[in-house]
Structure formats: C-alpha cells, structure tokens
C-alpha cells in the first residue's frame, strides 16, 4: 500500500453493499442461499409473510375490524391470549391475530413498493450521472451530499403528516428519502465500468448513449440492484413501522403493525402483548430480509466468497 492513503473513507450505509461486485458467475447465486441455514430460515419467514399477506382473508380467524362483544373484560379491558383469541384482543375488543394477519399486507406492500421506488430512482440517477461524469457527476455528488445531510425520518414525518397519507403516499415518501444510498453505489460502479474496453468498443461501433447505458452497463449492475432490492426492504419495513407508530403512516382503520402498537401505547403496561406480538412480527420480517439479502450478497460477490 502506498504511503498516503485516500482520505475518502467510505462509511457503510446502514444497509451496506460497499464493495463492487462481479457479475453472476457459473452457479446460480440461489444455490448458496439454499445451503446456508440462516438464509434458508430467512427465506422461509419471508415466504410465510408473503403468503399471510396474500391469503389474509382466508387465514385471519375473524374480521380484523369486528369489535367482539366478548372481546373485552367486564370492566372494558383487552383480553390476554386465549383459546378464543389466540393472541388476545386490542383496546376495542378486536382480535389481535386477525389484525396482524392483515397488517402483513401493509408492511410487505410498503416494503416492496417503497424500496422498489428507492432502488429505481437510485439506479437511474446513479447510472446516468456515472456515465455522463464531468459536471453532471459533480452535481450528482452534491445532490447526494445534500440528501445525506437531511434528517431522513424528520423529513418523512413532515411529509407524511402534511399529506395525510395513503399506503401509496407512505411508500413514495420512504422511496424519496431512501434512494440516495443506492444511487451512490450505482454511481461509483458505473464510473469504473464506463472506463472498461467493452464500453469503448460499443461507443466505437456507434451505439447510442441510451443503448450503452441500458444494454451494456445495466446488466453488470443487476447483482447490486438485486442485493439492494432485498436488503433495502428490511430498512423500509422498519421505516414504515416507525411512521405508523408515530401515527403518520397508513391511516386507521387499515391495520398495520406499527399502527397497532401506536393505538395500544397508552395501555401497554396492562396489555404488553399488544406491543410484543406486532413488535416481534416487525423484527422477524425485517431480520429475514436482512439474512436473505446478506446471503445473496455473499453469493454474488466472488471476492467475499472465500468464507469457509
């Protein structure tokens, strides 16, 4: 190593893919996921949440907004878990399990849509700025500096509070706040890819910029985007839950995991299950996307594939 190191010490973003990745090689990356027990566990949970969300009307034992006359004690308190209400009831005598089953829909929908938006925006801006370079690249870097200096959650809360959001608005707000990390990674990868011979060859053959960007460069970025598409969902699920917990997420009566905890907050010392069960659902979902994404990253990055 030379005696003066670069001063740019890259800080891993909170869901980091901080190394450039080679393209897909030989075996399917999934084969590595199959063989990794923690990743498999993650994949199973992700599948379970997805099935729960899809089949919510079939799986939920009751209507999530039905207020059961026997769902509260005689003095009007929520019921702890029992045979009739498996996870207990909430402050209005509604079945917690049914509400959580429907809550999976919000979590997953916002997670996938918001993260998709973030990855889409980030990829598009990053690849264009990285290929254009020059002043466009400089402008891009300043814009991302600006976005990174923004207090993301405060910004999202302000937007969400003012817009009185639906599920789509929440997803869009989160996407608009989160794109910057993906953009930075895509930008730096495009910068180094754009100097490679195959790009020069394509240019020499007279290929248009759009063709080089989307036919020649984009395929090399697919592994990165795949990893971000998975890892990012875990952050997004947490983000949505935080917004709903603060009461600026998807609006009631639509049940969401963060929202259930928000509604029960004033009563949680008497009914801790109303916090524990939705909290566990959020943790498990977010953790599982992290585990799957991490295994995918190991599989797609040969430089990190030397782990025993």
């Amino acid at each position: 190593m030379s005696d003066t190191m670069s001063v740019q010490v890259h800080v891993a973003p909170r869901t980091p893919v901080d190394r450039p990745m080679a393209t897909l090689t030989g075996r399917s990356p999934w084969s590595r996921v199959w063989r990794d027990p923690t990743a498999m566990a993650g994949l199973l949970v992700v599948a379970a949440v997805a099935i729960t969300a899809l089949l919510a009307p079939v799986l939920a034992p009751y209507d999530p907004s039905a207020q059961h006359p026997d769902g509260l004690t005689a003095d009007g308190r929520p019921l702890p878990p029992s045979g009739r209400f498996l996870l207990g009831t909430d402050l209005l005598g509604r079945d917690l399990l049914s509400r959580m089953v429907y809550g999976a829909r919000v979590s997953l929908m916002v997670g996938v849509v918001a993260n998709g938006a973030a990855v889409g925006i980030g990829a598009l801006l990053g690849i264009v700025a990285g290929y254009a370079g020059g002043w466009a690249g400089a402008l891009f870097m300043r814009l991302t500096d600006l976005m990174m200096a923004f207090p993301a959650l405060v910004l999202a809360i302000a937007l969400a509070a003012i817009l009185r959001p639906s599920l789509w608005i929440v997803a869009l707000v989160i996407g608009l706040v989160n794109w910057v990390w993906v953009a930075r990674v895509v930008y730096s990868q495009t910068l180094s890819l754009a100097r490679k011979e195959f790009v020069e060859a394509a240019r020499a053959l007279g290929a248009a910029a759009s063709r080089i960007l989307f036919r020649h460069l984009l395929p090399h970025l697919v592994p990165t985007l795949l990893v971000w598409g998975t890892l990012g969902i875990s952050t997004t699920v947490l983000f949505e839950a935080s917004l709903s917990f603060l009461g600026v997420g998807v609006r009631p009566p639509t049940p969401s995991w963060g929202g259930i905890i928000n509604e029960s907050q004033s009563y949680f010392l008497d009914a801790p299950w109303l916090v524990a069960f939705p909290g566990a659902a959020i943790l498990l979902t977010s953790l599982s996307f992290n585990l799957v994404g991490d295994a995918l990253r190991d599989a797609l990055d040969p430089r990190r594939g030397e782990r025993p």
Partner: protein, 306 residues
C-alpha cells in the same frame, strides 16, 4: 490539512443552504396552511388573513425565503408560531438532553458492538461468529419503539429498576440509551468484524505474530487501531443523526430532546421550528463527518490530507 478542512467547511455551507431551501420549498408547496392551524378550525377568514399577514405568509415565496436566509445568517432562526418564543431558545433548551442521549447511546453501541465484532472476527466461521452476526442483524432489525416499550414494561414497570420514562437523573438515561444502542451495536459489530478480517490478512500482522508477540498484544496494538477507522466514521455519522433528534426513542421515553421538539412542531406545522430543527440537524451531521475527518490522521498517520 487546514486547506482540506477549509474546503470541506465551504462545501458544508452550500449543503446547508441547499437543505434550508429544500425544506422551505417542501413546507410551503405542500397543502398545509400554518395560519389556519394557528387560528384553529373555528376562526373567521378575517382572523386567518390577519395572522397570515402578521407572519409574512402573504408575501411571495422567494421574498419569504430571502428574508429567512438573511435572518438565518444573522443567527436569527425566527419565532415559533405556536409558542411565542424564539426558535433558537427552544433549540438551546433541547440541546442538553439530546447531547446526553447521543453520548450515552453511542457509548452503548460501542460497548456492545465492538467486543462482539472483534470476538467474531478472531473466530471467523465459528458458531460464535455466526451467532454474533445473526444477533447483529436482529439488533439492527428490531423496531426501536417496541424495544423501548418492552424495556419499560419489563425493567421499569415489573422489575422497578428504572423510572418509567421522563428526564432528570442518570437512571432516566439508561433505558433510552440502551434502546438506541441495541440498534446501532449490530452495525458496529458488522463493520468492526469485516475490518478486523481485512487487517488479519495484512503483512504486518503476520510479522508481529512471527516475531512472537502475544496474541493479546497483536490484537490491541497492531490490529484494533487500524480496524477502528471505519468505526470512527460511523461514530461521526451517529453524532450527526442522534443530535438531529431521535424522534421515535424520545417519543417513547418522553425525553425532552430535539426529536420531541420536531415531532410537536410537525403536528401543528410550526414552520420556523421545523426549519430550525432540520437546519440544526443537517449542521450536526456535517460537523459529525468533519470530526471524523479530523480524527483519521490521529489514528493512522498514513492518512494525510494534501
């Protein structure tokens, strides 16, 4: 070094201006009428109009922004719409509690994250390593509000070890700081683990071992110092984000910090306060990064700014 830092400072000023401009535009473009909010629902249109002109909200947007920035440059953040107090005063009263929470939160992160990450790196591929990595992900995936509420339930309410939220003594700090620490520790463990593994393969570590230094000394003197560099930039980042207010944790524990101020201001669209919080918070993030920049050469003399 001085030139490099001066350049960075100049850059920060531009970022700050950008942040205020963007926040300003967002707040005014969105369909919320602060005058209506202040006047209340039952106010007559005349009252609303009077409030609007009192606050200068009837001026064109560019005029309002220029006014805001010129006052900002004189250190005047304006007055809160809701409580007729200077925004600077409001912010100042919140800085102390937020700083305490920031420092103790980072303390917990380092205390839990670093030993776990180092241990995992030294036994790479072992069961311990895998356990630490899954726990690290779990910490980072745990919703802070649920963790905070459950800590309050178990340790404060059932066990009676800590007060049930609020602010005042050291006992009040432990649970919110621990809640912050759980999430961060996971990231610290992952980062220190991977940078320790990188260092592990370096020649100088092999040399140190070959000349017969005890493992403990190799780890402490030769590896940790080098592996800590990415951790320093993470601490810099955390100083910034935590000083900007941790809305969720402050709201769960009733901690009177900047996050709570932001949350209250957002609910009533108290624009000067929101702008003040966002500006402070961006400033904190920039200063945190700058602080990390200053620290690198102290840790590793090979890093020079030229």
């Amino acid at each position: 070094m001085t030139r490099y830092l001066a350049g960075r400072l100049l850059q920060s000023v531009f970022v700050l201006v950008g942040v205020t401009l963007l926040t300003f535009l967002l707040l005014y473009v969105l369909p919320a009428d602060p005058a209506q909010m202040i006047a209340g629902r039952s106010a007559t249109p005349e009252t609303v109009q009077r409030i609007r002109s009192e606050l200068g909200l009837d001026q064109p947007l560019p005029v309002q922004y220029v006014r805001y920035v010129s006052r900002l440059l004189h250190g005047d953040l304006g007055r809160s719409y809701a409580q007729k107090v200077e925004v600077a005063e409001l912010l100042a009263s919140r800085l102390g509690p937020t700083a305490i929470l920031m420092l103790s939160g980072i303390g917990f992160e380092l205390l839990m994250g670093l030993p776990a990450g180092v241990a995992a790196a030294l036994r790479q591929g072992s069961r311990l390593d895998r356990l630490v990595m899954v726990l690290a992900f779990a910490g980072a995936s745990a919703p802070q509000f649920a963790v905070g509420l459950l800590l309050l339930y178990t340790l404060a309410f059932r066990a009676g070890l800590f007060p049930l939220g609020g602010y005042g003594s050291w006992a009040h700090v432990v649970l919110p700081a621990f809640t912050l620490g759980i999430a961060g520790a996971g990231w610290y463990a992952r980062v220190i683990r991977s940078s320790m593994i990188d260092v592990l393969g370096q020649e100088y570590v092999r040399t140190a071992r070959a000349k017969g230094l005890p493992t403990r000394r190799v780890v402490h003197k030769h590896m940790l110092r080098n592996a800590l560099i990415p951790v320093v930039s993470m601490v810099g980042l955390d100083i910034g984000t935590f000083m900007g207010g941790v809305v969720v944790v402050e709201s769960v524990f009733g901690w009177p910090g900047i996050g709570q101020l932001a949350w209250q201001a957002i609910q009533i669209v108290d624009i000067p306060v929101i702008l003040g919080v966002v500006t402070t918070s961006a400033l904190a993030i920039l200063l945190g990064n700058l602080l990390a920049d200053i620290c690198y050469p102290l840790l590793d003399p090979r890093i020079r700014y030229s």
